[in-house]
């Protein structure tokens, strides 16, 4: 008896499993034939419940009449309960009625007739029917609940899988493919994604043919309008399509259209809610991606800053120390009488000094460039005489300007300027160096300072190659170097960038003008001057 029961259960499970898996398959694929589904869902369970009744009968028959009749109420409950738990109320009811009929026919006298002699036995059979119907009802309800739970669990499982995939998304395109995969495979629904373009429009990512009504709706959507939530019906197929925006807090990333098929209002509502829950999850992920990107940017920024600081520290210490030793040693050698007497050795010592000075200038350039941090330069403002600044710049670039004539001219009564004189001196120095670089040896570089409408203008004019309008536009970019000079004149392209950054940090402006190629260049620095005239100050200062 036990073995029979086990076999029966296994068989039922196997059958139920196959039906279950087909059911799942059916829910995945809308295209499955309706008649086939009806056969699987409705007819087969009825037949199987009858088979179950038949199997119990086959077991009872050899036992002989009185024993079998006694076992009837218990034995026939088995196929009824199995049918109820596996296939629901209708196969169970059918099994109950079939069991009643078969038992009456085969095991209650008169045998092989549906009549029953003994009134007790009539009561027994009726009782059996009532018990089996009630228990099949209960069991089938239990089955339904289990089914619902399982279904929910599966949904939750899928959603969980989906959010896990979302958590692993590092780019927007990862995210889009996750949404598409999830919606298409897990929900069995057709999904189309439209990416937001710069023009405020949406563009389909793949050229799938979508219903006209969806395409028109997408075309009518403008990114600027908030939270598009539309549903529409594709007339030819009667499918309902939903259209929603995919967005994070700050940006709209695109539109997603999903086909949720046909069905009753409840089914459509349910699917809509589910779809919206998924989009909610997506928008959370997008937010996370936004935050991550911002953090990544901040991290890079910080690293750059640290690198710059390290570079600055290394340059100013590790490079300056050997440089000091070389320069200092050369200067000591230079002052030794024995070396001064020998022209050859003396020229070698001078060569060392000159090269060190060049190296020093390059390092100073790099140090200046690292001083320009992302937040700009922080100048230490102090009232200064523009003449002092210009003179210091000319003096410090003395070696670089040695091949040129430098003519300085200062207007009388120049106002003082409130600047970081170190930075402005460096800016002037860079411009002087450029003037020397891009003009022939022996030509004149004129430096002048004059007052103009409460501003002090320092101009540096050379007689060199000039500048084309095209080059003028590109000036000021870090590391810009004109194609014309790249092969012939060495340089890093940092000079003008440093100069303009330093001048701007002091509230000034820098202007480059040229009458054209080969006509020389004038670089002018305009700095805010003191509102007090120098003559007024003189009276106050010396009273």
């Amino acid at each position: 008896m036990n073995t029979h029961l086990a076999i029966f259960q296994d068989l039922a499970k196997a059958l139920a499993g196959s039906i279950d898996s087909r059911n799942q398959g059916a829910s995945r694929l809308d295209e499955e034939l309706p008649s086939h589904r009806f056969w699987q869902k409705e007819v087969l369970p009825l037949l199987l419940s009858l088979v179950g009744v038949g199997m119990v009968t086959a077991v009872l028959l050899p036992l002989g009449q009185p024993l079998a009749a006694n076992l009837v109420p218990i034995a026939y409950l088995i196929p009824v309960i199995v049918a109820a738990t596996q296939w629901g109320i209708w196969p169970a009811t059918l099994a109950s009625i079939a069991s009643l009929a078969v038992a009456d026919f085969l095991f209650f006298p008169p045998l092989y007739s549906f009549q029953v002699e003994d009134p007790h036995e009539v009561i027994d059979l009726m009782l059996f029917l009532v018990v089996s119907l009630v228990s099949s009802n209960l069991a089938s309800r239990l089955r339904q609940e289990t089914e619902t739970l399982r279904h929910r669990e599966r949904e939750i499982q899928q959603l969980y899988e989906f959010s896990r995939r979302l958590a692993a998304c590092f780019t927007i395109s990862d995210l889009i493919s996750a949404i598409q995969n999830y919606l298409s495979y897990a929900l069995g629904q057709r999904v189309a994604f439209f990416a937001a373009t710069a023009g405020g429009r949406f563009e389909a990512l793949e050229s799938n043919s979508l219903p006209m009504v969806v395409q028109e709706s997408v075309a009518a959507t403008v990114a600027a309008t908030d939270a598009t939530a539309r549903s529409m019906v594709d007339e030819p197929t009667q499918n309902v399509w939903l259209l929603r925006t995919v967005r994070s807090d700050t940006t709209v990333h695109g539109l997603v259209a999903v086909n949720i098929g046909r069905g009753s209002r409840e089914v459509i509502d349910l699917k809509t809610r589910r779809f919206e829950a998924i989009l909610e999850e997506v928008s959370l992920t997008l937010q996370r991606l936004d935050i991550e990107r911002a953090m990544e940017d901040a991290k890079l920024h910080l690293q750059a800053q640290l690198l710059r600081d390290a570079f600055h520290g290394t340059l100013s210490h590790e490079l300056c120390t050997p440089l000091s030793a070389i320069r200092g040693s050369a200067s000591v050698l230079d002052s030794m009488p024995a070396i001064r007497e020998d022209a050859r050795i003396h020229s070698l010592v001078e060569a060392i000094s000159d090269e060190v000075a060049d190296l020093e200038a390059y390092i100073q350039n790099l140090l200046n460039a690292t001083r320009v941090t992302a937040s700009g330069v922080s100048p230490r403002m102090q009232w200064a005489d523009p003449r002092d600044i210009v003179n210091a710049a000319v003096k410090r670039r003395g070696r670089r300007l040695a091949a040129h004539k430098v003519a300085t001219a200062f207007a009388r009564d120049l106002p003082l300027v409130n600047v970081d004189s170190g930075l402005i001196e460096e800016a002037c120095g860079q411009l002087l160096e450029n003037a020397a670089k891009y003009s022939p040896s022996g030509s004149t570089i004129s430096v002048s300072a004059r007052a103009e409408q409460e501003q002090v203008i320092v101009s540096i004019t050379d007689q060199g190659v000039g500048i084309t309008p095209d080059e003028q536009q590109q000036l000021g970019r870090r590391s810009f170097r004109s194609q014309r000079h790249q092969a012939t004149i060495p340089g890093s392209g940092l000079g003008f960038w440093i100069a303009s950054t330093f001048v701007r940090a002091n509230g000034g402006t820098i202007d480059i003008s040229s009458r054209g190629q080969g006509q020389g260049t004038t670089a002018s620095i305009a700095l805010p001057g003191s509102t007090m005239k120098a003559s007024e100050l003189t009276a106050l200062a010396d009273e």
Binding site: S316, H317, C320, T321, P322, L323, S324, A325, I326, R327, G328, S329, S331, V332, S335, M336, S353, V356, E360, R380, Q382, W383, A384, D385, R387, D388, I389, N391, A392, K395, R396, G398, T408, F410, L416, D420, S421, G422, E425, S530, M532, A534, L537, T538, L540, A541, D542
Partner: protein
């Protein structure tokens, strides 16, 4: 200078730097002591009483500023700072803490020697000595309060003379803006650096051959002014 041989103490952790400093100073007739850290340096300063200390700011055991402060708590010995920091605020802070002058690495030996000698001259100056300071074509009689340029006496206003007087008593050495402002405008104008700039401009008109290109009264950008002891050649060291 005024002794047979001045003793200079070099406090620097870099042997390469000490080597050329030693050579440079010995060539100029100094006797040289060396210390490679602050601890040794302070001991040497106490027991060997040098006439001049060359102090590097970045020492392994103690920051140079700290060494300077400890030295200044008991000694007036001239101190010249070697620094890689070309930051004006730091220079001013060091000068206020009692340094006589500074040179920024990399520097030439001539520059350091000029500063050193100026500091020694000021340190050893006594009242009995000639009270006339000569700076190139300029001579300032600190007692007679007269100024002459190429032997022609020139007239200065009270404040112009005051400025020149302070610079002349520190001839060859830098004097900070703060110190000048404090000594010239002791009252409420002492923060007004614009006045100082203009006063310097006026003084230059009177003492410089070309006031637009001053060679005597030179500007130390962001720090102060310096009266050069002698006219520099136009090519800088």
């Amino acid at each position: 200078m005024n002794k047979a041989s001045n003793v200079v103490l070099l406090i620097d952790d870099e042997p390469k730097i000490r080597r050329f400093l030693r050579a440079g100073f010995e060539l100029r007739g100094f006797s040289v002591l060396e210390a490679e850290n602050a601890d040794e340096g302070l001991k040497a300063a106490t027991f060997n009483t040098p006439d001049l200390i060359i102090l590097d700011l970045s020492l392994p055991d103690l920051h140079g500023t700290e060494v300077l402060e400890r030295l200044r708590s008991w000694s007036n010995v001239p101190v010249i700072i070697l620094s890689v920091v070309s930051n004006e605020d730091d220079k001013v802070r060091l000068l206020q803490a009692g340094a006589d002058d500074y040179v920024v690495k990399p520097f030439g030996m001539a520059e350091l020697l000029a500063r050193s000698e100026a500091a020694l001259r000021r340190y050893f100056k006594t009242a009995t000595e000639n009270p006339v300071v000569v700076a190139g074509p300029l001579s300032v009689d600190l007692v007679g309060r007269t100024v002459s340029l190429n032997n022609n006496q020139i007239r200065l206003t009270r404040k112009e003379y005051r400025l020149l007087h302070i610079l002349a008593t520190h001839v060859g050495l830098v004097v900070t803006h703060d110190q000048l402002l404090k000594d010239i405008w002791s009252g409420n104008q002492r923060d007004n650096i614009q006045y100082l700039r203009i006063l310097v401009r006026k003084l230059r008109q009177k003492i410089e051959t070309d006031p637009n290109h001053p060679r005597l009264l030179v500007t130390e950008s962001g720090v102060g002014y310096r009266l050069q002891a002698r006219l520099e050649n136009s090519s800088a060291d």
